[in-house]
Amino acid sequence: MPRNLWSRVTLVAVVVVLSGWYLYPPKRTINLGLDLQGGTHLVLGVEADKYVASQTDRAAEDLKATLERKGVAVKRIAREGDATVVVELASPQSWNDALTAAAELQNFGRRDEDQAAGRFKLVMSERVVSRLRDDAVRQGLETIRNRVDQFGVAEPTITRQGSDRILIQLPGIHDVARAKALIGKTALLEFKLLDERVSVEEALKGNLPDTDEILYQRRVDKETKTERKIPYVVQKRALLTGAELTRAEVQADPNSPGNWQVSIEFTATGTRIFGEVTEQNVGKHLAIVLDGSVYSAPRINERIPGGRAVITGQFTVDEARDLAIVLRAGALPAPVTILEERTVGPSLGADSIRQGLIAISASAAVVFVFMLFYYRLSGLIADVALGLNLLLLFACMAAIGATLTLPGLAGIALTVGMAVDTNILIFERIREELRLGKTPRASIEAGFRRALRTIIDTHLTVMGTAVILVSFGTSSVKGFGASLFLGLAASLFTAYFFTRLLFDLVYMGRRKVEAISI
């Protein structure tokens, strides 16, 4: 008996035990893809340009304020494109003052200067633009993660995909529409004063100052289900935003039974600003604006010192709860759009698992019976090796946390067919050696040795393709590639190492081998 036989037996035993350990209990250890367990897969595109634009807007506002302070008269300061501010001075005399003020905007460089006309442009540097774009996606991802965590989804996956996409996977989720609304909402909360000097009628005709805008309040009549839009003239400048918010809680609306409201509490800074704003504007109306829609515009009766406010708007309890979540988690720095969605209901997932398992079992059964019939005892050896192959494959998936998808199941069914190829290659080779008149032992030896190179070649080429699938493919293609790769890696081990070991155990132990059952 070869000396290293026992160490090989030990190795296989260790591998089997390890596999078992990784796989137990199977329901918990194997990650099922969304197509198998049901759930939603979303790819969101972050409109990062809008974040850049909003930062440029802010810079333009700052510059306007600085120039005003310095007494520099300005004809026009406006954003052009996403990252450029056009400055037109009322007169060229204040050119130098304007340049000093502009120099304070560190992220911008001056272009197209025309001193005679008193005109120049401020352009954000490429480096800053790309940093801002990156910030928008990163912050967006964090915010969405926060929201999803608070919404309560078991084991969500939220990752960045490429430069400006966010991949979200929510397994086992039932109310998909609600989850999507929660994730996709920008949730920019703003407090803006109504401009009561301008009548709504005039404003709708287009007679609107630069600093104002028309925003609407949506009111749904609960009986007729019709939607009414009430226009408001509000000042563009937000006095306070949701960034200064510490708490948001759901409450019953005391003024309208059956409806719910969200009470919010500001940070210290927010409280101070809110106090000042309310003090200075007693008698005016303050609009509470969420994502560009007015929710309410109550009259300020007196200074509000405590830093609390409520958002009302005929909310159901779920709507109020979701609004509280998004307000707590904060606004998205830039709007997001759904680029891709794949939702699989739990019943379909269960069907797919059943069908996939039937397919794997059936293809394994066909192969098992065939091998047994054709190669007898050697076929049995191959079958045992195939069994180990499947065990190893699943264990590897559990160990590295790979996800089993429906195409992945197909990949496994296919691996069964291809893994047996390795055994066939070896067996046919052994038969050839036997035909040449070699002794059984020599034939086994030569058969394995000769087949090895071919086996490595065939495995490496297909594993190479599998690597390509995993690295460049998305979702379903990836899952398929992963199971194909692991299946082939396992087959390399089992067919060559394990089958060989079984042959050695069966035939090498005896003193004299008369014939091989092959």
Binding site: T343, S347, V367, L406, P407, M418, L460, S476, V477
Partner: protein
């Protein structure tokens, strides 16, 4: 010992002229169908759009579903039975409306259509950017796969072998795509995965034959055996393995096709066709090209030697 073939010695390579005609014919049939039908039918994975899989409590008719959807103006919808008669797939083209809006409208239209209770079991929305990305990805994956194979075989064997193997693979891909087109099946992401598997499988087979040829050439080559004869020997020597492996893989693919469920049907179909053409192309495309290429090169060498001798 059960043996399929006892010392097989068929003249495969000798009949390669005919095989070329057959290969070209099959490729052309596929291409004709592709051209006639204006390209492949792409799944929403590649075109973008919305797919809704609905299971009704009572079996409706396609006409009923179509009429209830006609009110929502979302463009030409494709309605297909999927599996049993209670389950349907509705495909909608990309619309100006957002994905949420499309879903809402479909749901309310079906609810208003008097079709009884239903359950939306699957919903997929692929936006235009993602569709374009996936299209690019498909082409990219196939190309990178082919490059990988050419490099691997080129290094392990020789360039002739690599190029011939890749031509065989391209033949298989074209035949599979042609079959998809003829059978009116759709090109989706799983089909792409199947195609890439077939690329691997086809090469696998080719490598086994090449390996054998190289091993034989390492030994003493009997006198008078031309390169074509040696290739034919290699094919014959690996014949039982080829047939056995093809059979087992073919069974696996067939099982998937018939028991794998509707979702995997197109995937399994490509494997099914691919296993057949992959096995065929090893001998009659890859090996045949290597033989003719070698003959051509050797012939030119001989002629130039003669020319040198004359001079």
């Amino acid at each position: 010992m059960i043996e399929l073939f006892k010392n097989p010695n068929y003249d495969f390579i000798g009949k390669r002229k005919w095989a070329y005609y057959v290969s070209i014919a099959f490729t052309l049939i596929g291409l004709t169908s592709l051209v006639a039908k204006g390209g492949l039918r792409y799944d929403i994975d590649f075109t973008g759009g919305t797919l809704v899989q609905v299971r009704f409590e009572q079996a409706p008719s396609v006409a009923q579903i179509r009429s209830s959807l006609s009110t929502i103006h979302l463009g030409e919808s494709v309605i297909q039975r999927f599996g049993d008669e209670r389950e349907y797939i509705i495909r909608l083209p990309l619309a100006a409306a957002s994905s949420e809006e499309v879903q809402k409208r479909v749901q309310s239209a079906l609810a208003a259509g008097g079709l009884g209770k239903f359950e939306i079991r699957r919903l997929e929305f692929v936006g235009p950017q993602v569709g374009r990305d996936l299209q690019l990805q498909a082409v990219y994956l196939v190309l990178v796969g082919l490059v990988w194979i050419t490099i691997y075989i080129g290094l392990r064997f020789d360039l002739r072998g690599g190029v011939a193997a890749v031509i065989a693979v391209i033949h298989d891909v074209l035949v599979c795509l042609g079959a998809l087109s003829i059978m009116n099946r759709e090109f989706s992401l799983p089909v792409l995965a199947a195609l890439l598997t077939i690329i691997g499988y086809s090469v696998n087979d080719t490598i086994v034959a090449y390996d054998r040829l190289r091993e034989n050439r390492g030994k003493m080559v009997p006198k008078g055996r031309t390169f074509a004869d040696q290739m034919n020997d290699a094919v014959n020597q690996t014949l039982s393995r080829t047939i056995l492996t093809s059979l087992t893989t073919f069974f696996s693919a067939a099982v998937l096709l018939f028991f794998g469920g509707k979702t995997l049907e197109d995937f399994a179909f490509v494997l099914f066709v691919g296993v057949i053409t992959g096995t065929y192309s090893t001998t009659y495309v890859a090996a045949a090209i290597v033989v003719d290429w070698t003959r051509y090169v050797e012939g030119r060498l001989r002629r130039s030697k003669k020319a040198v001798a004359k001079a």
